[in-house]
């Protein structure tokens, strides 16, 4: 059994607005994959569900793939489709 860990996930733009908060904490066995963190986020906050399929994940300020391992101390963020420029 891996120890449970707390993952603090930063939310931006429409995700932040849907959740009503800039950061959400989810509990998961660590390490977890990026996609496991996202799935836990959807369960913790169903309002985010519609946004998650089109969102990307960043770990420590870099885009990552779904299978990337994430540790509780990592800076995890949900990035809905961007609109800069």
């Amino acid at each position: 059994m891996t120890p449970p860990g707390t993952f603090n996930v930063r939310l931006f733009g429409p995700a932040r607005e849907a959740a009503g908060a800039p950061v959400l904490a989810v509990e998961l066995d660590a390490p977890a994959s990026a996609s496991e963190v996202i799935a836990a986020l959807g369960r913790a906050c169903p309002a985010l569900m519609p946004l998650l399929p089109s969102s990307r994940v960043a770990v420590n300020r870099a885009y990552v793939e779904a299978e990337t391992a994430v540790e509780p101390g990592d800076e995890v963020a949900i990035l809905p489709p961007v609109g800069g420029g």
């Binding site: 733009g13 300020r61 963020a77 809905p80 489709p81 961007v82 609109g83 800069g84 420029g85």
Partner: protein, 150 residues
């Protein structure tokens, strides 16, 4: 290659950004600026709100600078500024400025910079109408020539 990147709540100035590129060997400076438009699909926009994941955005701008240095090794300097917060119609949301010895590299690198920024910079835009608001994501299939990602 010299670089300057900023995410700022202050109004942007092309002249100020171009001044950062000054170099006696630069024969060409290309700039692109995006400005807040007054309509979207015929509906009147009152103002815009931009939000950034600021530390990552600064990293992404540096990454785009590195991509440009690799693709156009003659580029002398690049400066990119992106504004966040509330923007009125007609204000600049972004400026990309590139200097190079010759026009071809400056123009191509500038087009590449804005294309990449629109694809990967972690910034979100909300359009505020008289009767509501919407988060507007960038659409593609409109990339500039020479601007596709590597």
């Amino acid at each position: 290659m010299r670089t300057h990147f900023e995410i700022t709540e202050s109004p942007l100035s092309i002249e100020a950004l171009v001044a950062r590129l000054a170099d006696p060997s630069a024969g060409a400076v290309a700039t692109f600026s995006g400005t807040a438009r007054n309509t979207f699909a015929g509906k009147e926009v009152r103002y815009l709100e931009y939000e950034a994941y600021r530390p990552m955005a600064e990293q992404v701008l540096a990454d785009i600078g590195t991509e440009i240095a690799i693709r156009w090794p003659h580029v002398i300097a690049i400066a990119i500024a992106h504004r966040v917060g509330r923007l009125e119609i007609g204000e600049s949301s972004v400026i990309v400025a590139v200097s190079a010895p010759h026009r071809r590299e400056a123009l191509q690198a500038c087009a590449y910079g804005i294309d990449r920024l629109k694809a990967i910079l972690p910034v979100w835009k909300k359009e505020v109408f008289a009767d509501g608001e919407v988060w507007r994501e960038n659409v593609f299939g409109n990339s500039t020539q020479g601007g596709e990602p590597p």
